[in-house]
């Protein structure tokens, strides 16, 4: 079946080349049937890549180890869910996933716009197929998922245990959906410039794709942070690692674009800015995809040795140069139709938001690529750490949250100063009250940034709450509905506005969680013996007794570890019981006979099982690094290695059982990492709010509403003019 896979890749590449030719020919000669054929090649591409993807998936699910990538990343004992997801844990598989997702989204978008924007679509089709062709070429010429070995090995290496967590398996498809969705607005942006048609129709179409990209990318980022916090043993959710930053940057420019697009829609301004933002977002998405697999930057994900670096650098160079060319050669048609009516207007606040977001993106870009920049400028490679990032992003984040509270209160086009002043009373009071309460209770002592963030968040809540309140009141006056119905109707008829308000609340909540959990965290790393306890923040944590298990029978996460050593921790506060935590370290088979018949059973990469008590006000987080190398335990391994033949792993497990008993009988002191972090849960809750709000904002208004609007507005428009 690998032949079918390989052949479908070559077919896919041919389809791309054909489609590009057909679309371009169709649009240049005005022969619509060729453009149509070009568009259909995108559908055909989606079909062919689905076949390729299915072939690979089936190979994984059927344990076909003749496929090299199956043998390298899966095994017969890997649980089915992780087998299915292991497809994208390798370079080749992830390229196929990327190309497949791109083809699916492109098909959807081109289908939805099939009756409109003929010229723009045709160019966009060619560009989307160009990207598809690029990724498929990478597979065909550099890293094919369909390489085979004959005869097939009997068993595979297995999935890296670090990846055996549901979030980690959903994180790549989500993130890739986000990245590939960013390519769609890029293609339509370039298409619009090529067709010389940057107008209302284009705005309407591109807004929805951009929102979808923003949503998926954001979910991917959140999932990554959650995985890092809940699974990795360092207890943090964001480390300003190069790859984390790479996914955040297009999200920031995407957010800026969603806002500034509204200005273009209303006032015909900022056309150059918007087109540049859309092109930048797509380019940053490609750069993000590239960073993970190129090894040019030192980071957790970047692997040594240039792999696919060169083709990507060429692609990025082409993107940047062509963007600059397109924008400058079309600048006549990108001239603004109007100017800002007044500084006191929502448009002006949106401009401010854009500047802050782009500023944030610039800071993160600079810090992330600094090793390359410093090498180029000074000849020495240097890097900046999290403190540098924090120093600049924190104030910018504060301004951003503040602006998101100011925006709702100011009218479009031209706000009345007196009214604006009046409207700020409640939000400002809420902010000031929060300030006073926090200062008086001494909660936020010596952490000015956290304090400022809490007050800004209160300000936002006041501002948005006021908007909702007033909106519901207006609706009730007009339609006489009871409050709950009025609320629903209000949101349904003004989805963009009120969905957007929900997003702002969500962002404020996320930042409150981030501020609290970074500024007021108590962490402790120390060695404890059974019976000993320690104080972390207001909590007392006692190491009650050790735990040891071999090939755990009840293993809800299906991790497949051979030996697991851990501890039972008793957590209490002011003498009252709070929770019991059971952190552990899972040991895995390394499959290397050189380590000995027993040694290899525990010689694989160990995985820390974090145990935490997540609460509304705080998380109590624990991780353990047990000492598996005590003299007595090492002795058991040595004896086992000498006496047990390597072909009898079942007997080797008996040695592990002896080790487990030994560990329980005479437990050595273990290293604990303990953290008490306030308000972490609100980061995840805030994220959910943001995405709920985004969905509402994105949801198409029922066409019935649009129809009612058009008739009455038309007659009233005429009436209004008769009066004026």
């Amino acid at each position: 079946m690998a032949e079918l896979g390989g052949a479908s890749l070559i077919l896919a590449l041919t389809v791309c080349v054909y489609g590009i030719g057909a679309s371009l020919y169709g649009v240049r000669t005005g022969r619509a049937e060729w453009s149509e054929s070009g568009r259909r090649s995108v559908y055909a591409l989606a079909g062919v890549l689905t076949v390729a993807f299915a072939v690979l998936e089936l190979a994984f699910l059927r344990n076909d180890f003749s496929f090299n990538t199956v043998a390298e990343t899966s095994s017969a004992t890997t649980p089915t869910f992780y087998k299915a997801a292991a497809v994208w844990s390798s370079q080749q598989g992830s390229l196929l996933l990327w190309a497949w997702l791109l083809s699916m989204w492109s098909s959807l978008v081109l289908f939805l716009t099939r009756k409109r924007m003929r010229d723009v679509s045709a160019y966009a089709t060619a560009i989307l197929l160009g990207f598809g062709g690029f990724f498929i070429s990478l597979m065909v010429f550099y890293a094919t998922p369909f390489a085979t070995t004959n005869p097939a090995p009997p068993e595979g290496v297995g999935l890296d245990p670090l990846l055996r967590h549901p979030s980690m398996m959903i994180h790549p498809p989500m993130l890739y959906s986000g990245y590939t969705l960013c390519i769609v607005p890029l293609a339509f942006g370039m298409g619009a410039l090529l067709a010389r048609k940057v107008d209302a129709e284009w705005i309407k179409a591109i807004r929805r794709f951009s929102l979808a990209a923003w949503l998926f990318l954001g979910i991917g980022i959140m999932l990554g942070a959650r995985w890092s916090y809940a699974e990795l043993g360092w207890g943090g959710y964001w480390g300003w690692d190069a790859v984390e930053n790479a996914s955040l940057m297009p999200w920031l420019t995407g957010t800026a674009f969603i806002h500034s697009l509204m200005i273009q829609e209303k006032r015909g301004m900022l056309k150059v800015w918007n087109v540049s933002l859309v092109l930048a977002t797509g380019t940053l998405a490609i750069m993000g995809t590239f960073l993970v697999r190129s090894g040019i930057l030192n980071s957790i994900h970047a692997f040594g040795g240039a792999t696919l670096g060169v083709p990507f650098v060429v692609l990025i160079g082409v993107l940047i140069l062509s963007s600059i060319y397109l924008v400058s050669s079309r600048r006549d048609m990108l001239r603004s139709e109007h100017r800002l009516d007044s500084l006191l207007s929502r448009e002006s606040i949106f401009l401010g938001n854009n500047i802050v977001l782009v500023g944030l993106c610039f800071v993160i870009f600079w810090g992330t690529y600094f090793p390359l920049i410093s090498e180029a400028l000074t000849g020495h490679e240097a890097s900046v750490g999290p403190p540098w990032f924090d120093r600049y992003t924190v104030p910018l984040a504060l301004i951003l949250v503040l602006l998101s509270g100011v925006g709702p209160v100011i009218a479009w086009r031209r706000a009345t100063l007196a009214n604006a002043r009046r409207n700020f009373v409640i939000p400002l009071s809420l902010g000031l009250m929060t300030l006073v309460v926090l200062l008086v209770t001494g909660v936020a002592d010596s952490k000015p940034f956290a304090l400022a963030m809490f007050c800004c968040a209160a300000f936002v809540l006041g501002s948005v709450g006021q908007e909702y309140w007033r909106g519901v009141r207006v609706r009730r006056t007009i339609a006489g509905e009871p409050a709950p119905l009025a609320l629903v109707a209000l949101v349904k008829r003004n989805r963009r506005r009120f969905g957007g308000y929900i997003v702002h609340i969500g962002i404020a909540v996320v930042f409150v969680g981030v501020a609290a959990s970074s500024s007021f965290q108590h962490a402790s790393e120390l060695s404890l013996s059974p019976g000993q306890s320690t104080k972390v923040g207001a909590y007392t944590m006692r190491y009650v007794r050790p735990t040891a298990a071999i090939t755990p029978k009840y293993d809800p996460a299906h991790t497949g570890s051979t030996l697991s050593l851990g501890a039972v921790l008793d957590v209490s506060k002011h003498g009252k019981y709070v929770a019991t935590l059971t952190p552990a370290e899972d040991f895995y088979d390394s499959g290397e006979p050189a380590q000995g018949s027993v040694g290899h059973l525990i010689g694989g990469q160990p995985v820390s099982q974090v145990s935490m008590d997540a609460g509304v006000t705080r998380d109590v987080w624990s991780a353990i690094a047990p000492n598996i190398n005590t003299p007595r335990l090492k002795r058991i391994v040595e004896i086992g290695n000498k006496t047990i033949p390597i072909v009898r792993p079942d007997e080797g497990m008996i040695a592990l059982a002896v080790m487990a008993r030994e560990y329980m009988k005479a437990p050595p002191p273990a290293e604990f990492h303990l953290i008490v972090s306030p308000l972490v849960m609100w980061i995840w809750i805030g994220g959910a709010i943001v995405f709920g709000g985004g969905l509402i904002a994105m949801w198409p208004a029922p066409s019935a509403v649009r129809r009612r609007v058009s008739v009455r507005a038309r007659s009233r428009a005429a009436q209004g003019l008769a009066r004026a």
Binding site: R470, N494, A717
Partner: protein, 115 residues
Amino acid sequence: MNGLAVLLTLVLLAAVMAVVSRPLLSARKPDESDTPEQAELEAAREAKYREIRDTELDYRTGKLSGEDYQSVNSALRTEAVEILDRLDSLGHEATDEQQEATGEQQEATGERSDV
């Protein structure tokens, strides 16, 4: 290459060619439901109506004084009528209006606003 794989590949190839060549072979021209200009004007009209509703909501929630509202509102309505006029001259809107007018008669009234 084993036989099954070859067969499936050929089937795939045939399917692709069928999908891709249909518009080239059929005599029918691809469906032209809207001229580009019409689509553009309709999009602009929708956007303008949304602006009018937004401004009304702004006024009713107390962000604009009566005066400011009147001036912004009439400016918007002028712009809207411009767009409608241009659509009219394309000759299409008359039919639309009739359909929508009948639709309105069937609605329960009581809504004096678009908020």
